[in-house]
Amino acid sequence: MDDLRTRYLGEIAGAADEVALERLRVAALGKKGEVSLRMRELGGMTPEERQVAGPALNGLKDEINAAIAAKKAALEDAALDARLKEEWLDVTLPGRRRARGSVHPVSQVTEEVTAVLADMGFAVAEGPQIESDWYNFDALNIPDHHPARTEMDTFYMAQAEGDNRPPHVLRTHTSPVQIRAMQERGAPLRVICPGRVYRADYDQTHTPMFHQVEGIAIDRDISMANLKWVLEEFFSAFFGTTVKTRFRASHFPFTEPSAEVDIQCSWEGGTVKVGQGDGWLEVLGSGMVHPKVLEAGGIDSSKWQGFAFGIGIDRLAMLKYGIPDLRAFFDSDLRWLRHYGFAPLDVPTLHGGLQ
């Protein structure tokens, strides 16, 4: 029996492939295999003989089975190793292309501004870009002869023959949306109005179309001090650093009192850094909504008061992201769009951050 054991284990160890292994299994453990035949002989043995030979044969059978299984696994491993070697690839080849698009800075910054101001309760109102003379001017306390009309470099729409209304204009600011919002929603009111505006001007720093966001808050006792707080909170959240503001007296027909607002910045090394240094940069016009404007919006100016402000979205984008040239915003140069644009999933939120 030791012979049998030595022979089979040796042959199993030397088997070249699975076929040879199977042949060995049949030869040893098949119906007519050598081990099986020996086991069949157990019946003719005395009980004493059987007690010795039985366990020995069973042990042999298990040993051969185990050896075959182990050898089989070893052969499979070797075969896999060989196959894996064959499967060599140049992994430094480029990956399959995935599309990469971008979101324009104007859209991104509009969402950022919205995220901050929505938290302070401002809803987003929108309105027409072709606007009537009344909404763009008269309702905002800019009567026909007012010098502000000429200063705004207004675009006018062509007029049909026989149309005796004043010509429609391309809105010169998003303020007419404030009037519409007041008419539609009444007081109290908190809205921001982002969107395209138009002025007939084109040079280094002006384009005939740009973007503005205006805000208006109307309530019983809102003051200019509240405005200053809202703006400082806004700028600090938007720029991600504490930003001080400076108010200077100014004049806008639609607010009274009016103030130009500067934000704190430094100009070291030729770049503007907001929230640092002791310089000031003019960024915004604001004031307390003029009683005539409230009345134009259908709000009783003896009961309600509030503030309004307006700021350039493109300007905010330039300041925050260091974009040098306004004109390039509207040129759609792919290199620019990819460089200054934002990833599709880069959605600004207050809890996730705005930069």
Binding site: R97, A99, V124, Q129, L334
Partner: protein, 798 residues
Amino acid sequence: MRFTIAWLKEHLETNATVDEIAEALTDIGLEVEEIVNPADRLHAFTLGRVLKAERHPDADRLRVCDVETDLGVRQIICGAPNARDGITVVVAHAGTYVPGIDTTIQVGKIRGVESHGMMCSEREMELSDEHDGIIELPSGKVGDRFVDWLAANDPSRVDPVIEIAITPNRQDALGVEGIARDLAARGLGTRIERPIAPVPGTFGSPIEVSIDKDTIDGNPYFAGRVIRGVRNGPSPAWLQQRLQAIGLRPISALVDVTNFFTYDRNRPLHVFDADKVTGNLRVHRAEGGERILALDQKSYAFERGMMIIADERGPESIAGVMGGAATGVTGETVNVFVESAYWDPVTIAHTGRKLKISSDARYRFERGVDPEFTLPGLEAATSMILELCGGEASRVVEAGAVPDTTRAYRLDTARCSSLVGMDIPAKDQRATLEALGFAIDGDMATPPSWRHDVRGEADLVEEVARMASLTKLEPRPMPRAMPGVPAPVLTPLQRREQASRRMAAALGYSECVTYSFIDDASAALFGGGGEARRVANPISSEMTQMRPSLFPGLLQAAARNLARGFADLALFEVGAVFHGGEPDEFEIMIAGIRVGATGPKDPHGEVREVDVFDARADAEAILAAAGAPARMQVARGTNKWWHPVRSAKIALGPKITLAAFGELHPRVLRLLDVKGPAVGFAIHLSAVPEPRAKGGTRTALQISDLQAVERDFAFVLDKDVEAVNVVNAAAGADKSLIEDVRVFDEFVGGSLGDGKKSLAITVRLQPREQTLTDGQIDAVGKAIVEKVSKATGGVLRT
């Protein structure tokens, strides 16, 4: 508005520095735009004395001078003919920048002799064009700064010029006196009152004036007088310097006097050569068509209703805007008629705008000058003309009357705190207003006649606040409108815009923002053009039409990028397109285009030209992001800018069109210089229906444990049979069992013969109650083949 510090000090006694004055001006709403201080460039120049000047050994025209300076005795070579012993000179040491020659002085040798600096002429310091020799000062101590010497002895040469921006409400700050009043009210000095004494006339004015009845509203008051026997030469140096410093050209004494009062007191005046005026002056409205040659030597035609100052011959002046050339004063003028009138701002604004004349007079009259100062202005001008030109003044002639602008508003001193949020004591508020010229009587405040802008209680608060300085305003938290977590603020359309924008970017498109106005030809290609959407005053022929579509802007952007060498592009834009010229005739759309291949060539061989089905997939993905329902119909029938047979619309039933996609028309691409083909989509975001159910609850999920079965079918069809018909027919074979039908292959021509194609579909069967038997599956299969055959004429391919 420009003025100099010396001019300001004629009206304001102050020790404030230029910087303090500038800071205060900006703070009170007179924003400083520029300060030009001639002294800034001269700080390094000091006084020296020439101890000894000898001829240069090697140059006849040069002198070697020993000059006593603040740094000791220095040897300086000088070529000026007047360099000689004993004179006091202006020295630039080595290292000093000399602006007039744009050079920094260095120690050097001139013809072998060392020179340690320079003695300067006026031109070299850009003080004047004087360059006949170096400056010789009549006084001064060696080592003193030259700017200090100038400030003490010739202050106008270093008089800083300040330019401020004037907001439309501050007409009073268009005169130096008004600026001084503001600064005094701020506490920066004491105003110097300059009372005006009337000049008694010695004879009756030979020219009389009248105002037509229908013109009195436009010209309430007109005053004038003749001054005879004047000599109209150049004005004196002080007046010329005043005007030059603020950028005005001195013309003659008479004209310079009018310009002086325009800027000094915001009182425009006009002078006629009395000998050229025929008869009397009459102010009247134009009939329309009258012409005048104005002082700018241009001819203007009056429109009906504009105001004319005429004599017997006709128009001699565009009232309040510009005088006429025919009666203008010259060097020969000996008799002059001086006009001081009050004009209605609105009429002047209209006239100026229509005639496109910008003049100092129009600028001031349309903002509103002080009506009460009309006669005093005439008297002040008379005095100065008599002083500068001699002559004899007539009695004043007047027409109309100074309009009464008196009005009063309640001064509620608590309002400042409520509106601005600053607590300023009531007595300080009153003092501020009084310093600005308001008359306070109890709690009523009467604005001064020069403040047309003050029209209500809020204006009083504004005056108080700006004088108290808004820089002192302390921020005060604004409580939430509602306590707690803020409610969402975006409208469904706004959310849709954001979601579709980010989906487009995720699909590989780059977002563009293009101009809303485009050129005529491009607009016409996309159903635009014509009058309704035309901009009346475009700044360029490329920007004349409000866009009827987002495609022109995107295709032009594509053309520019293609020209830059980008072959494969995907661009999109979200924004308004205009269906007409009325405010409500617009809608928000998103559109995108793809040009070229799906990407640059790669080793994986997957790159191909973009096609209609890319555009369709993009459109569907974006519609899904925008919240469109899953089942939408695709149908032919798109606008003319699409490829006639390679485009379609996506609709919800026959009434709601959500989008269009396909290839853009090759002719459109050619006209826009886009080397095509280009595919694209355009989605009407507002057409996407809002979800019917409020809240986020989903329907219950139904999952079957029973195995789904898929079966493939291929049909031979006529080539123009559309896949959608096959799919719909197959799906209709057993609506309860068939879960999905997908097209997975299309094969055209070949062994099928011309005009035929094979279309293969996979049908997924999902049993609900029990596992399908072969018999059931076969029965559904048969039904599918029948339905498809009946609907399309196709036969099962075997």
